[in-house]
């Protein structure tokens, strides 16, 4: 179980205050809410990429004590971001990007996300957003994470690529029992994808 309890977090000023959220193994939780409501901030805290001001994160019963480079449980959580182009070292080929977590399973992972050998040899600027996001998904799955956090993963993608990547994630969940937190603006997508959806309310106007 991935749990955030009473999370208050932000950047100087808090963006979210006293928010709690739980993702059960095998479950897909949707996270919705308008721009600025703190969806990405909560995602970054749960992915151990951002230290909250207050509150605790628990992963499978273990309380998280360190964030960012001090996060010992970091590899239990895979993350996908909105813009694959900002998430991959531009000097790497897709093959190198997928192998970056230290896995020797590149071919197996590439097959899962339907990347051909030719595409694996290319660098980010030589492939489309959809193809690059496929590589990011393969990379996120390389260490068999217990939980996967998808922060607007499909925003840059067309309907077909969206359906394909959600299909890959669902297959992985069936095999591994991983839990998924799916963040999106798209209520129609979350209705179809998530078992339940949590909504963050609009930020107070500044």
């Amino acid at each position: 179980m991935l749990t955030g309890l009473g999370i208050t977090a932000g950047y100087r000023a808090p963006v979210i205050t006293d928010v709690s959220l739980t993702v059960q193994p095998g479950q897909t939780v949707g996270l919705a809410g308008p721009s600025g409501s703190g969806k990405s901030t909560l995602a970054r805290v749960l992915a151990l990429l951002h230290k909250p001001f207050a509150g605790t994160v628990e992963i499978d019963g273990e309380t998280v004590t360190g964030y960012r480079f001090q996060a010992r449980q970091r590899t239990k959580i895979g993350v996908l971001f909105q813009q694959p182009r900002l998430s991959v070292d531009p000097r790497f080929t897709l093959r190198q990007a997928i192998a970056e977590p230290g896995a020797d399973r590149v071919d197996e992972l590439a097959e899962k996300v339907m990347l051909t050998d030719d595409l694996l040899g290319r660098r980010p600027h030589e492939v489309s957003d959809g193809q690059l996001q496929r590589a990011c998904l393969a990379r996120a799955l390389a260490l068999n994470p217990r939980y996967l956090i998808c922060d607007e993963m499909t925003t840059m993608l067309d309907a077909s690529t969206t359906a394909a990547l959600v299909g890959v994630i669902r297959d992985y969940q069936r095999e591994s029992g991983a839990g998924v937190l799916a963040i999106s603006h798209d209520a129609v997508l979350l209705d179809r994808w998530a078992d339940e959806t949590v909504r963050l309310s609009a930020p107070p106007s500044r």
Partner: protein, 300 residues
């Protein structure tokens, strides 16, 4: 107000040892008071086509065909002519991720007033029309929310009162309320007699605002017709697959991957992914000449 007549436009990029066929033989007419959405997956050539219309292609690009806006061929016009008579004046561009297109060290007002001065427009009126309050204009780009930055970009595109607007993925990253607001704004502009070319991968947004949808695949328009016809009664197997991939429909991807633009098949580019393909698909299908046109030998 005049039509935009895109006639058999192709764009190629010469790379070392390869040619990228980014746009192939695209024809499309856009009339005043009409919104046409150009949809397709990323990398299918949508943005390259828009760049060609505005003369924003890189030096290694070769174009053929013509794109006439009244008496000007946009593909043949010099950069000077485009800069002094077309961009901002007759064609407004609403770029993707507007916040990153604004100058970070100047307020929205400074940028809008500069555009108004150069283009001979009215900054206050453009701001009002884009839904901006005067106090918003005194903010720097980093102080603007995504929705506000979008409105500033809209105001910048509108200030020279162009008759044609090209919006490149304007809804990406905006939440639903902002998307609805933006699309309503486009609709108002269209109802005022503007022509809008909406480039998007968001079929739902296209359906919501466009009069016609053109589906692009591997640099070609494979289907074009009235929005509801294309989405609800698609004739091209790719267009049908794309519509069926929507989360409120089958949510099933089109099988396979798009072809490499450096190595396109001689026949129908979709045939390798198409369940209905037969030997006849080794000949390249031609887009039919009808209100709901399709380029397919074996339409659905």
């Amino acid at each position: 107000m005049v039509n935009l007549e895109i006639d058999r436009v192709s764009v190629r990029f010469a790379l070392q040892g390869a040619t990228v066929e980014a746009v192939n033989d695209v024809s499309l007419v856009l009339r005043p008071g009409e919104c046409v959405a150009l949809v397709g997956e990323s990398g299918c050539g949508k943005t390259v086509l828009a760049s060609a219309l505005l003369g924003f292609l890189p030096g290694n690009a070769e174009t053929s065909g013509s794109a006439r806006l009244g008496d000007v061929d946009l593909l043949a016009a010099s950069d000077h002519e485009l800069a002094t008579t077309i961009r901002g004046r007759r064609i407004g561009l609403i770029p993707q991720s507007p916040a990153s297109h604004l100058t970070p060290v100047r307020t929205a007002r400074a940028q809008l007033e500069e555009a108004a001065r150069v283009l001979g427009g009215d900054a206050a009126r453009a701001a009002e029309r884009a839904g901006l309050l005067p106090e918003h204009l005194d903010r720097y780009p980093h102080e603007l929310s995504g929705g506000m930055a979008q409105r500033v970009a809209n105001a910048l595109a509108l200030v020279g009162d162009p008759s044609l607007l090209i919006a490149d993925e304007p809804t990406t990253g905006l939440d639903r309320d902002l998307v609805d607001g933006l699309l309503a704004e486009f609709r108002r502009l269209v109802d005022d007699g503007h022509a809008v070319l909406l480039i998007t991968h968001d079929l739902a947004a296209a359906h919501q605002v466009a009069d016609r949808i053109a589906v692009m695949y591997a640099g070609r328009i494979v289907e074009v017709g009235p929005s509801h016809e294309v989405l609800d009664n698609a004739k091209h197997p790719y267009a049908r697959g794309l519509a069926n991939a929507l989360p409120d429909r089958d949510f099933v991807p089109v099988p396979g991957q798009p072809p490499l633009l450096t190595d396109l098949p001689a026949g129908c580019a979709f045939a390798p992914r198409c369940e209905q393909a037969t030997a006849i698909c080794e000949d390249r299908p031609v887009l039919t000449d009808s209100p709901h046109a399709v380029a397919c030998h074996r339409p659905c």
